[in-house]
């Protein structure tokens, strides 16, 4: 009997798809060729908290979604056909039995090096690092981090810190070397491994930690988001709780690049995105970090800020955004950029709106609204 033909799963050649992970499920926004018209599909996993949904650029068809359902334990869902069907991971990220630790949720997903198809990394809360070698079906701990003799000192107590727990995020894989990894610990700082995770060291020199007794400690910082510069993994950009920074290797000391932001806006925020092909271009989405840390758009006037010179200077981009009374919060995973030219930049707010720019931030328009609280937006 002839086998039924299977419709090939290929990424859309001339349109953009966004994976919008929310507190109540996963939605998919798809554009037309011109990125003018957008359609919303979903939800997948209605009622589940989806912390992060990421597409695998190596095969063009695998999507992973890190989810947690109400009071139930965490899991990872996998699709091998761009979201048509999903299966649950057989063995989600979980700490070693006997360690005393339990994963509350998987917070961050990163596909590994291009030479490692099917390998993924996951960062969790409490802070832990996990790896899958089978496309997300099963996960094991990266013992070099989770069982590192200094991990508890770096991260602090799992029960201390912010009410929703410290998070391991911004897992960067050097495109030149699969063994070269960087991670962000929301309670701990930036750490680097050159041994595929077997050992780690903090790299936080130059980054302030104003909330600690020692404002320049070796670790204990609160990085919010890390990104490689386009085509230049020897440059890393960081949005931190205490400002904006750039690291140029082989140095180990970060340079403060927040001084060029207007004082009325400040240099704090959650997300940071780097241009896909221009290493000196990046965007941030500032938030109010004064007094009690409202974490909303300063003055109720949302804006992205773009730098074309590696952070030496910044330009406000708000055309199309509400001019007032828009108290937005954009979480660290809820800003992304597509690979088109000109690049499209997208943000998702905790008030359930997705906004996009087709012209690298010069103008913005709303793409979707009335969604639940948005945790992450990624290009699929």
């Amino acid at each position: 009997m002839p086998r039924p033909s299977v419709r090939p799963v290929v990424p859309p050649a001339h349109r953009v798809q966004l994976l919008v992970a929310t507190r109540k499920g996963l939605w998919v926004l798809s554009s037309d060729i011109a990125r003018r018209g957008w359609t919303l599909a979903g939800p997948h996993f209605l009622g589940h908290i989806v912390h992060h949904a990421v597409a695998d650029p190596r095969d063009g068809r695998t999507w992973l979604a890190a989810a947690r359902t109400g009071h139930l334990g965490p899991t990872v869902f996998r699709s091998m056909n761009r979201g048509r069907t999903w299966k649950e991971a057989k063995q989600p990220p979980a700490f070693r039995s006997g360690s005393g630790r339990a994963v509350d949720h998987t917070f961050w997903l990163t596909p590994a090096h291009a030479s490692q198809p099917g390998v993924w990394y996951a960062g969790t809360s409490p802070q832990g690092l996990f790896r899958s070698d089978d496309g997300g079906a099963t996960w094991g701990g990266v013992d070099g981090f989770n069982d590192h003799p200094r991990r508890a000192a770096w991260c602090g107590d799992d029960k201390a810190g912010t009410p929703d727990g410290g998070k391991l995020h911004s897992i960067l894989v050097d495109p030149r070397d699969p063994a070269h990894l960087l991670i962000g610990l929301s309670s701990g700082g930036v750490f680097e491994s050159t041994s595929a995770g077997a050992d780690w060291r903090p790299i936080n020199q130059g980054v302030r930690a104003d909330f600690l007794p020692d404002p320049a400690p070796e670790f204990g910082h609160d990085p919010h988001c890390l990104r490689f510069a386009a085509g230049n993994p020897d440059r890393i950009y960081q949005q931190n709780h205490c400002g904006l920074y750039r690291l140029d290797r082989p140095g180990d000391t970060w340079t403060d690049i927040g001084a060029g932001m207007p004082k009325s806006v400040g240099d704090v925020g959650f997300p940071l995105v780097a241009h896909p092909s221009e290493p000196d271009t990046l965007w941030v989405f500032p938030m109010d970090g004064t007094d009690v840390w409202p974490r909303v758009s300063p003055g109720g006037r949302p804006a992205a800020y773009r730098s074309l010179d590696g952070g030496r200077s910044w330009r406000r981009q708000d055309t199309g955004f509400p001019a007032r009374d828009a108290w937005w919060t954009v979480k660290r995973q809820a800003m992304t950029i597509d690979g088109r030219s000109p690049a499209g930049v997208y943000v998702g707010t905790t008030s359930g709106e997705v906004w996009g720019s087709r012209d690298e931030g010069r103008t913005w328009r709303g793409l979707a609204r009335h969604l639940p609280e948005i945790y992450a937006v990624e290009v699929a």
Partner: protein
């Protein structure tokens, strides 16, 4: 109730009914209760909750990790009842003709 089951079956092992809350029914094909079979070593040693959950996991893979963490602890806001009694740990016995009920807290938002 388990009446009507073959007497020989009950003597050779235990059949325990587990009541499933709605968030977990995706693991049981929508069933709000499942019955698991467990060996009984001796009448005075009925199966424990540990064994019941292990049997449940064999039938409905993935369910256990959603209610029990990797250290074998009941997750916060999850409660397990044996009959009408709240189980404080997983080593409690499940006497004959007692149901196990998994309860997820009603809070949310």
């Amino acid at each position: 109730m388990l009446q009507g089951m073959a007497k020989a079956t009950i003597e050779a092992g235990a059949l325990v009914r587990v009541r499933i809350p709605s968030p977990l029914r995706s693991y049981t094909d929508g069933a709000d209760e499942v019955v698991v079979a467990l060996p009984v070593l001796a009448p005075e040693h009925p199966p424990t909750l540990v064994a019941v959950l292990a049997a449940l996991e064999q039938k409905h893979r993935g369910l256990r990790f959603r209610i029990i963490d990797e250290q074998g602890r009941v997750r916060p806001h999850i409660k397990l009842f044996v009959g009408l009694d709240l189980a404080r740990d997983l080593d409690v016995y499940v006497p004959p003709d007692r149901d196990v009920m998994i309860v997820a807290a009603l809070s949310g938002g």
